[in-house]
């Protein structure tokens, strides 16, 4: 998503554009989500990076939205906070109708998509990739939106590095109607790979579960990591005598 075409440069910048987003500052990394038997599981770590510094380690990147949905965000944290302000207001107005109706995950996902796309149209994007999951009336829903408005739903989704590292694992091992334990195990496998290979990952994560009954976001915990591969045991064994 880099842009250097000469034709684009004038369209994107002008004198009064000191207010437009140029690049993100505090960012969250991957979010991974899967559908399972009873609903949706989302996982995200609690890191907020400031460039290459792992500055914040208690950032909650999974939040509930109304009764039926959870949102997971990667990218600029301040933009996520702005999105949450909008979503909280949306849910508030929905509740104020007091008509027994409530916004489901499909509706919230559509709202998010329109919000992201409209900001992209004004050349001032919300620098996030979002995952939206939920259950309403027995129907499971899992979707994602990018910062330029590209959106889709699937049985498993991921943002950022997760698309490269977690999706292949999910394509291989995900199947319909997984149990909660199977789902958590699969998500932890994905998060572990991300922890090994994504520079911005931190070993402190939360898993969010949403079913017809409601939403729970776990307490933060850490994954076990395994470094006792034989190649790591005595790494210089083959080097004696060589330079």
């Amino acid at each position: 998503v880099t842009n250097s075409a000469p034709s684009m440069i004038n369209l994107i910048g002008s004198e009064s554009d000191s207010q437009r987003t140029l690049y993100p500052y505090v960012t969250g990394t991957s979010v991974v989500g899967i559908k399972y038997k009873d609903g949706i599981l989302l996982a995200a770590d609690m890191g907020g990076s400031y460039g290459s510094t792992l500055r914040y380690k208690t950032v909650e990147r999974l939040k509930t939205v109304g009764k039926h949905s959870i949102i997971g965000a990667s990218g600029e944290i301040s933009d996520f906070q702005e999105i949450m302000r909008n979503l909280d207001e949306l849910i508030l107005y929905d509740n104020m109708w007091d008509d027994g109706n409530s916004l489901g995950p499909k509706e919230v996902h559509n709202y998010l998509t329109r919000m992201m796309y409209n900001r992209r149209n004004k050349f001032n994007p919300l620098w996030n990739s979002l995952v939206l999951g939920g259950v309403k009336n027995g129907q499971k829903y899992l979707g994602t939106v990018s910062m330029i408005g590209v959106h889709y739903e699937d049985n498993h989704v991921a943002t950022g590095f997760g698309n490269h590292l977690a999706r292949p694992l999910l394509r291989d091992e995900w199947h319909a109607d997984m149990t909660f334990e199977e789902g958590v195990k699969l998500l932890e496998k994905c998060m572990r790979v991300l922890l090994y290979r994504d520079r911005s990952a931190v070993n402190k994560l939360q898993i969010a579960k949403i079913t017809e009954e409601g939403v729970t976001i776990s307490q933060p915990y850490a994954l076990k990591t395994f470094w006792n591969f034989s190649a790591f045991q005595n790494p210089t064994a083959g080097a004696e005598g060589s330079w």
């Binding site: 880099t2 910048g13 796309y117 992209r120 910062m147 408005g149 590209v150 959106h151 698309n163």
Partner: protein, 223 residues
């Protein structure tokens, strides 16, 4: 200090190929269901086809967010048309509306490559093909998207389209039967899938004829 330039693009190409073929009394509109970005596959099951009216079906490839926005604009405009005229829009009318909608954003285009298929007011198959800013013409068949360079020459060969320079104009609709046209479309996509990395996963075929609308699916290579 030199002015900072944005390092993001408002556009992305989410790939995919679309094809439409017009017959004497039917129209076949098909697309793959793969959605990609860069060298990654985002999902293998995303429909690029939408039914805008009774007898108009649009298939679009390109930048998915723009495609979806375009679909929504046309859907909304069709609803208003129905309220005002108490009837469905004809395919040629929808074709003009699509062209105007695209040109409206001539200076910040919808990055969408469209093919509109359906039945005209006489019940004959019609296909309209577009570029991103609304330039369009009625043709007997068309292909757009990442695999179009592989498919169009094949269709030119198989459908032996009459030259558009002929006077009087010769009808471009194919004499093929509906099932022959469907087989041809399947062959197109199987071939394009072999060589185009952005085409594959699944083929969705929509068939419009006097009896209504029907959908067919076929698996494609997933690599």
């Amino acid at each position: 200090m030199t002015k900072q330039h944005a390092n993001w693009s408002p556009y992305d190409n989410n790939g995919g190929t679309v094809v439409a073929i017009a017959g004497a009394d039917y129209c076949v509109i098909a697309s793959d269901t793969r959605m990609s970005t860069g060298y990654s596959i985002l999902t293998r099951d995303y429909s690029k086809i939408i039914q805008l009216a009774d007898k108009s079906v649009m298939a679009s490839s390109g930048f998915q967010a723009d495609v979806r926005a375009l679909q929504k604009v046309l859907e909304a405009r069709h609803l208003i048309y129905q309220h005002q005229h108490n009837k469905q829009m004809s395919c040629p009318a929808m074709a003009q509306l699509l062209s105007n909608t695209l040109y409206f954003k001539r200076f910040f285009p919808y990055y969408a490559f469209n093919v509109l298929g359906g039945l005209d007011s006489e019940g004959k198959g019609c296909v309209f093909t577009y570029d991103a800013v609304g330039s369009y013409e009625r043709v007997g068949y068309s292909s757009q998207g990442s695999g179009s360079t592989l498919i169009t020459p094949y269709l030119d060969n198989q459908l032996k389209s009459p030259s558009p320079l002929l006077l009087p104009a010769k009808d471009a609709v194919t004499p093929l039967s509906e099932s022959e046209a469907i087989d041809l479309v399947k062959t197109c996509f199987v071939s394009a899938t072999e060589r185009d990395i952005y085409t594959g996963d699944k083929l969705e075929i929509v068939i419009l004829n006097a009896s209504g609308i029907r959908r067919d699916y076929m698996e494609l290579r997933k690599d």
